[in-house]
């Protein structure tokens, strides 16, 4: 029973929507980096949106299904075959017992989400099945899946009416967005005004250090700091502050050179200044950025951030309605 892992892929982890509530102890919320793609994958196979599936990054696993089920694959564009036959993403697919799923190389985006009817039924840890790699818990014993693992499934009595559910193209998230919207704030007062406008006018390129903890960027000019006498406890570098709590999505720039956006496995606190935070509506977009992708940060205000958030809620509501009525 369950799903046998024949090949693991680069770093395939079990994720649900996350584990909020323990960040004050240094345990981040984890969960799918592209929450919308994870939610849609689950809806397509008839799961609760919070069911655990696989987050697949850059290269895909090879899996053998030892029981019949429904699957859906969303997110990045990474072609896949079931027993050698090509299948489409963003739709639910019936899988017979014994069939094997294989992925081709990545074409666009960075992360795919695989949902299986019944969900992957590993134990809940602090209320979630998400893998937190640095803390070595959650998911499959706190590590990525590995060849030889058997992923246990929850009860899998799917409805025949669920087979072939899909989304019209116009409802698919656009993973090609290259503008990341930011609300300036937090410790931005450490920077000169000229440096702030330069930050928003330059192209920034995703560096190779881009993972679930944070996304690093390079290519822009070093930031300029307002002069100061270092406050007691902060440290002497102009980018140092008295260590404080970090916000998800906040952008820190150690020594003023390479911005890092903290994502869902973020460290909870530290001593580097942050210049603001990516708005909640754009956090999923970051999950789909490959290294070497060039992006621009766009400064917006709180009113615009809330409008973007409301748009995203409305889109998700429309998707739910479409899938349940189709």
């Amino acid at each position: 029973m369950g799903v046998k892992v024949l090949n693991s892929g680069l770093s395939t982890t079990i994720q649900d929507l996350g584990r909020p509530g323990y960040f004050h102890l240094g345990i981040p919320m984890s969960g799918a980096m592209d929450q919308k793609a994870m939610r849609i994958a689950n809806l397509l196979v008839g799961n609760p949106e919070n069911a655990a599936g696989l987050e697949i990054v850059f290269t895909g696993p090879t899996l053998r299904f030892d029981e019949a089920c429904l699957i859906a694959i969303t997110g990045a564009e990474m072609p896949f075959k079931l027993d050698g036959v090509s299948q489409s993403s963003w739709q639910s697919i019936q899988v017979e017992k014994g069939q094997t799923l294989e992925f081709d190389y990545l074409r666009a985006g960075a992360r795919c989400y695989l949902s299986i009817s019944g969900g992957i039924n590993v134990p809940l840890v602090l209320g979630s099945r998400s893998t937190y790699l640095v803390g070595s818990f959650g998911g499959m014993h706190g590590r990525p899946i590995a060849a030889g693992d058997i992923l246990p499934l929850g009860r899998c009595d799917f409805m025949a009416s669920q087979v072939g559910k899909n989304l019209p193209t116009k409802m698919l998230p656009n993973i090609g967005v290259r503008e990341i919207r930011v609300l300036l704030g937090l410790y931005s007062y450490r920077l000169t005004e000229g440096s702030i406008s330069k930050f928003f006018s330059e192209k920034w390129v995703v560096a190779s250090e881009a993972d679930r903890m944070g996304y690093r960027f390079k290519g822009g000019q070093a930031l300029e700091f307002v002069e100061r006498k270092a406050p007691f406890g902060a440290g002497s570098d102009p980018s140092n502050i008295v260590d404080s709590s970090y916000a998800y999505g906040s952008i820190q720039v150690p020594s003023g050179t390479e911005p890092i956006i903290l994502h869902r496995d973020a460290v909870s606190a530290g001593g580097y200044f942050t210049l603001g935070a990516v708005i909640s509506a754009d956090m999923d977009l970051i999950a789909q950025l490959q290294p070497n992708t060039s992006i621009q940060f766009v400064s917006i205000d709180m009113h615009q951030a809330l409008l973007a958030r409301a748009e995203r809620v409305a889109e998700m509501k429309e998707i739910r309605g479409y899938i349940s009525n189709s």
Partner: protein, 291 residues
């Protein structure tokens, strides 16, 4: 100085009580966090308090940012005048200073250090005016430390030395962070000590290791509850220097599940501490020794 309020995207509000570290600022952030937790405000997901600031994660679908800001400003003013007294505990943490593992790691990353010709301990001792490493180590474990924040990765505590500012140990972080630090390393950066909960990247100077686990994902240690994390802001820590022999003995006890941590409950009054910190500390440590 009044607090500074600033949003971090549409889901976070950061309140910086002061831009420099002090016990007063820490107590204000802790009081504010407690008041916010008790308040009837809706839409609050999490409050992270530590050092001289606190961060609120909120859901703007349930509370408008402007409304949250005005409510938090009111609470922050109340916190300013809270009585700085907490019920807490003193915990003894054994430390094997000058251990072989942090030494080896330090040597591996020597080119990232300010002074590659000396060890982290030698560097910190001389920078802080101690003639020998032994005197420095003695200063490190003879006064207690206050846990002023918990977090980073998996429950790492930040520790603030409970001595007057001119006696506090201060060192810069490594020039470039290491990609490796042994689990349970006692580190130091700026004015803060820390204990690395798990092996991993880090930039603090390394002075020793403790055999005591402080993060417990598998729920195997009786001194750590179901949150997996041992420390809480407000805990008071007394380091005790141990030999390699005692390190091995405690490690064996931890492995066999028979280790118990020396801990006593205390009431901490910041006003009395500020009046005469050496006497206040001595009384705290006498209680620990007498337990």
């Amino acid at each position: 100085m009044g607090s500074r309020f600033t949003f971090g995207g549409d889901e976070h509000l950061l309140v910086e009580c002061a831009d420099e570290m002090s016990m007063r600022s820490f107590f204000k952030s802790l009081s504010a966090a407690q008041l916010i937790k008790k308040s009837p405000l809706v839409g609050l997901d999490e409050i992270n308090a530590g050092n001289a600031s606190y961060l609120i994660k909120f859901n703007p679908d349930f509370i408008k940012p402007a409304e949250l800001l005005s409510e938090i400003k009111k609470i922050d003013r109340i916190a300013e005048n809270s009585v700085p007294v907490i019920e807490t505990r003193v915990v003894e943490i054994p430390v094997f200073y000058k251990d072989p593992w942090t030494h080896e790691t330090g040597m591996r990353f020597r080119e990232r250090h300010q002074d590659p010709t000396v060890t982290d301990l030698e560097y910190a001792a001389s920078l802080n005016g101690y003639a020998t490493v032994e005197e420095f180590i003695n200063a490190h474990h003879s006064s207690p430390w206050f846990v002023s924040m918990v977090g980073f990765v998996a429950g790492c505590p930040w520790l603030y030395q409970m001595v007057e500012r001119q006696y506090q140990i201060e060192v810069p972080k490594y020039l470039r962070p290491r990609t490796d630090t042994p689990r349970h390393t006692i580190g130091h950066g700026g004015c803060f000590a820390c204990i690395y909960a798990v092996q991993g990247a880090g930039g603090y100077q390394m002075f020793g290791v403790t055999p005591v686990p402080i993060f417990d994902p598998l729920a195997t240690h009786s001194h750590i509850d179901e949150s997996m994390v041992f420390f809480r802001p407000g805990d008071i820590v007394k380091f005790r220097a141990i030999s390699s022999h005692e390190y091995d003995a405690i490690s064996a006890d931890v492995r066999d599940g028979i280790f118990s941590l020396k801990t006593i409950p205390v009431e901490f009054d910041l006003r009395e501490f500020e009046e005469n910190s050496p006497n206040y500390n001595r009384a705290l440590l006498d209680k620990l020794d007498g337990s």
